[in-house]
């Protein structure tokens, strides 16, 4: 073998490890800088290998705006939730932003939630429940205590792809056992709550 070839081989051998080490260090440096030097979220859905999205069909409007409730007043409405997921996950519902009333009206508006298929925000026609109710006759005040994913109701398992489920919510103003003076205190009272669904990948 010629001396120059041998010398270049020696060089190559000697340099291999240090260069690789430097290359690794540079890779780490570059990766860290790229990952952590920024302070804004990228609009990065298009890059991710997985993503989830959840939407409902209320177009931003409130589901219930009940007025002039008297004992026994009731109503039933549906809302359709759509999950787009590229990884499996579980959807649960819970209550946020409770608006308490001075008179405790939220103790007397009882809510029943059923989960199923069929029906939309426009109409519950065709709704078929898929099992037991998620909650039955629960006062809004108690519903408000289930305010995060951990305590949420339901447990709709979604797989990769697009799936929908409809939630039927029934409320009733229940004044059982209330004396006239207690009813007088409730007159004109107002309460409110939001219902939030969350999909977390499992």
């Amino acid at each position: 073998m010629r001396i120059s070839a041998l010398m270049s081989r020696r060089t190559a051998v000697a340099l291999t490890t240090p260069v690789a080490v430097l290359g690794a260090a540079a890779m780490v440096w570059h990766a860290s800088y790229a990952a952590f030097s920024g302070t804004t979220r990228s609009s990065g859905n298009s890059w991710s290998t997985g993503s989830v999205a959840l939407s409902d069909d209320d177009a931003g409007s409130a589901r219930f705006q009940a007025t002039n409730m008297t004992p026994g007043s009731t109503d039933t409405k549906c809302i359709k939730v759509t999950a787009n997921a590229s990884v499996p996950g579980i959807v649960k519902g819970y209550a946020v932003n409770p608006v308490p009333s001075a008179a405790g009206l939220e103790d007397h508006v009882m809510v029943t939630v059923a989960e199923g298929n069929g029906g939309t925000f426009a109409s519950c026609t065709g709704f078929t429940p898929s099992g037991q109710n998620l909650v039955t006759n629960m006062p809004l005040s108690t519903l408000a205590t289930f305010h995060d994913y951990a305590g949420g109701m339901g447990g709709w398992a979604v797989t990769a792809g697009t799936q929908t489920r409809t939630y039927q919510v029934t409320w009733k103003f229940d004044a059982t056992g209330m004396t006239q003076s207690q009813l007088d205190a409730l007159q004109g009272a107002q309460t409110g709550i939001d219902i939030q669904w969350e999909l977390q990948s499992s």
Partner: protein, 475 residues
């Protein structure tokens, strides 16, 4: 072909000839390149592993990220090395932090690596995965932050991710490939410096294997970058009507009572007027408040009376009512009789003038008397001291020089006819319970009533039979 001794390797080498020598050089060249590639891979792997294991020998922390909600910043399989985050440090908004996630549906605490996007005040922060459409739903309290992500070591955690995801094919491929590469990297080639001591080479090999094994065994903690999304039905409101009436309240108020007392108070001397005219009544000597109410479908309370106990209907006094209705509910087992409801000239225990009275005899029958006389009485056919609640209404309208009066028990007319008009005109009050009664035969020994009363209403009109029945039906 000459044979020379290669001084560097001390191995004989065939040099110079084209044929066999050229082929040997080509293979030799390919083998040489392969070994160098293997050595580069070995160096790369060990460097990455070293950086990833840096936390094990310092106070920093390492985390393997399994999921992709922080893409493209962090890919699954990356190892994140975090700088310790002290309790006095300010949480840097906009930076990626490792923190204990608020409770989710999984068991036990979960470490999450997400970006802090907003400070909510009161030591709470909103976090978000870069690849999630919405921020994390639950805010993170200050105390949950563990470390600040500073170094990202790509690829090193992939075997752990594959292990967790049970991708045995990939693990096997990577394991065999790495083992082959490591083996290859220790082959001697032209250009290697003279042989080192055996011990040193062995130590190098052991270090290489140990390093790889360490990532699998004494590996970094797992940090979750879970995908999440939310949707909300917001601003739902419920408002009660401005007038909510029990059925009995509605029935009575439909007839515009002068005063209507439900007797639901817990204590005190005032009895509210539910007719809406603020003609507050007065309790005196009540034995028991808040007894069980008379009306099965209208929750409320009754009061218990004895001795001089009474309730005087409110207002400033009525002058000589000739057209009127008086209504109440009563329950008793007394065998001494007593005054149920009547019109008197004062609110005191006794009055100078008293008439227009309904009272119970000792035998339990109820009598209505226009003014003190033994004639022109209305009498209930049955005794009503059976311990059950009874509805009692007396109505009266002028008729010539007398009154035409009607007596209703439990919504049904039981007697009617001419009754005497009061003998004097005065301003007075309707009162239920203890009052003044005529003395003599046919009257109870005392006006004291021992029993319960409820829902007293007085009117300046005479209710029709239909309305009385409607009140009773609404109980």
């Amino acid at each position: 072909m000459t044979l020379t001794i290669d001084r560097t390797t001390e191995r004989p080498r065939a040099v110079g000839a084209v044929g066999a020598g050229a082929r040997t050089r080509a293979c030799d060249g390919a083998a040489f390149a392969l070994v160098l590639v293997a050595r580069a891979y070995r160096a790369l792997l060990l460097t990455l592993v070293t950086v990833a294991l840096l936390p094990a020998v310092s106070s920093w922390s390492g985390y393997v990220v399994r999921t992709g909600s922080m893409e493209p910043s962090i890919e699954p399989g990356d190892v994140i090395v975090g700088q310790p985050f002290g309790p006095d440090e300010k949480v840097p908004v906009g930076r990626v932090m490792v923190f204990e996630a608020p409770p989710g549906s999984g068991a036990g605490p979960v470490l999450r690596v997400h970006r802090v996007v907003e400070s909510l005040g009161h030591g709470r922060y909103t976090t978000a995965g870069d690849a999630n459409p919405t921020p994390d739903a639950a805010p993170v309290p200050r105390g949950n932050f563990r470390s600040r992500a500073v170094i990202r070591v790509p690829f090193v955690g992939l075997p752990l991710v594959w292990l967790h995801d049970r991708r045995l094919g990939r693990i096997l491929f990577w394991l065999l490939g790495t083992m082959a590469m490591l083996r290859l990297s220790f082959w001697r080639v032209d250009g290697d410096p003279p042989r080192r001591s055996r011990g040193r080479r062995r130590a190098l090999r052991v270090a290489a294997v140990a390093g790889v094994a360490a990532t699998a065994v004494a590996g970094p903690a797992q940090a979750d970058a879970a995908f999440s999304a939310t949707t909300v039905s917001h601003a739902n409101t419920w408002r009660a009507a401005s007038l909510i009436q029990q059925s009995y309240t509605a029935a009575v108020k439909a007839d515009a009572p002068y005063a209507f007392h439900r007797l639901d108070e817990a204590s005190g001397t005032t009895a509210a007027d539910s007719a809406g005219n603020a003609r507050t009544g007065t309790y005196t000597g009540v034995a028991t408040y808040r007894q069980t109410g008379a009306l099965p479908n209208n929750p409320g309370y009754a009061v218990g009376l004895s001795g001089t106990g009474r309730m005087v209907a409110g207002g400033t006094g009525l002058y000589d009512p000739l057209t009127f209705s008086a209504e109440l509910w009563f329950r008793t087992t007394t065998t001494a009789g007593g005054k149920l409801i009547g019109f008197e000239s004062s609110r005191n225990a006794t009055s100078v003038a008293y008439d227009r009275e309904a009272f119970m005899r000792a035998d339990g029958t109820v009598v209505y008397l226009g003014s003190a006389t033994t004639k022109n009485l209305l009498v209930s056919p049955t005794s009503l001291n059976n311990g059950a609640w009874h509805h009692l209404v007396v109505t009266s309208v002028p008729s010539g020089a007398q009154e035409l009066s009607y007596l209703y028990v439990d919504g049904v007319l039981v007697d009617y006819g001419a009754t005497n008009r009061a003998t004097s005109s005065y301003t007075g009050w309707w009162r239920a319970g203890y009052g003044t009664l005529p003395t003599g035969n046919g009257y109870p020994a005392s006006g004291s009533f021992t029993g319960s009363i409820d829902d007293v209403a007085v009117y300046t009109t005479a209710l029709s039979g239909t309305r009385v029945a409607a009140h009773y039906a609404a109980r």
